[in-house]
Symmetry: C2
Subunit: 200 residues, 2 copies
Amino acid sequence: MVNKEIALDTEEKIWKAATKVFERDGYAGARMQVIADEAGINKALLHYYFRSKEKLFGKIFIEKYNKFFSTLAILADQDMEFFEKIDTVIDSYMEMLLENPEMPSMLINTITHHPELIDKLNMEGAQKIRGVLQSEAEKGNIIAVESLQILTSVVGLCIMPFLAKPIAMHIFKLDMEFYQEVLNKRGPFVKKAIRAILKP
Amino acid sequence: MVNKEIALDTEEKIWKAATKVFERDGYAGARMQVIADEAGINKALLHYYFRSKEKLFGKIFIEKYNKFFSTLAILADQDMEFFEKIDTVIDSYMEMLLENPEMPSMLINTITHHPELIDKLNMEGAQKIRGVLQSEAEKGNIIAVESLQILTSVVGLCIMPFLAKPIAMHIFKLDMEFYQEVLNKRGPFVKKAIRAILKP
DNA sequence: CCAAAAATTGACCAATTGGTTAAATTAAAT
DNA sequence: ATTTAATTTAACCAATTGGTCAATTTTTGG
């Protein structure tokens, strides 16, 4: 048998390198040679562990996003008061974004260019949260609008400063500290904003 | 001299074809041969009119996004009551998105991968609107938060359903008519939401 | 220690890529 | 009508790309 530790190590190095390169350059822009260099290994070894560029990308993508969506699912199931639940979701979302600012555009791009991957994502989390929103609206605790309007609002409010970062920093000539402060204050701001929006 | 009409026609065909392909496949994913085919011309003719892939992409990108941002600048200068101005911006933004749903992710991707193009964008529009927000906050007409929080909220609320469309339709198994209805109702929803958020 | 299995590599390949060029066609000018 | 300039094309090119393979090194199990 093979040395599992070393094998795992190499696989891990590839995983990290590929993640970095795919996130930075996108699928079409990524180069297998660049990934190999980044991992400090031979290009042929990439194909030895993961058969093709597509398979490598697909595996990384699915693992990363399923991890995120399963976190959402757990949150939605927790026994909490409604706004507490919303707050927890927002916190979790913001935390994830602070660590992976590229996730939203990555997700959108991938769904657009590799629609076959959608089916491999386990989206219970989003569905459960939508269910919660619908039942709250029926109870009259929040405004009566299609739950998608609310869902996209929460996500949009959380995501936008991350998406807009490079553009906003340039347009308004901001420095990193200033923008980081905006990002840090975003969570509390979104929580207040959502409360204001949802008030019946 | 050359026949200007025919020349313009060819250039226009290239322009349209390239716009379509770049929007669909992204810069890295786009192929000059595909653009040539789409335009119904020889690939060498692409390089005759636009010297390189980069130049072709840059010109199209700058023209399209400057047109949008200059619209914003005009709106910001109009003599209107504050919320009327906000509403007009939202309307203009939604209208643009309905016709060009790919613009947000295109903008973000381009800024990330071709940062040198930012400098060629004329962003007065955004700056003026930020100024308006700041002065309204000082007057106490709206909540006192960093104007970027508001700006990103307006944009995020408008954009999100367009960005999320392919994913949302799949997760929740929605049909096109249903989703179109959500998009059509988005403008009024965002206007109400922003009013609720901004109330001091 | 040794043979089998697994991991790793360098050299290579066919296909694709953006881009060029010289020749052919078409339009303009005199 | 003929020269000149602009447009268009087919063929070509060098570089890059994802991917393969035979050979070598390392690890493992007996």
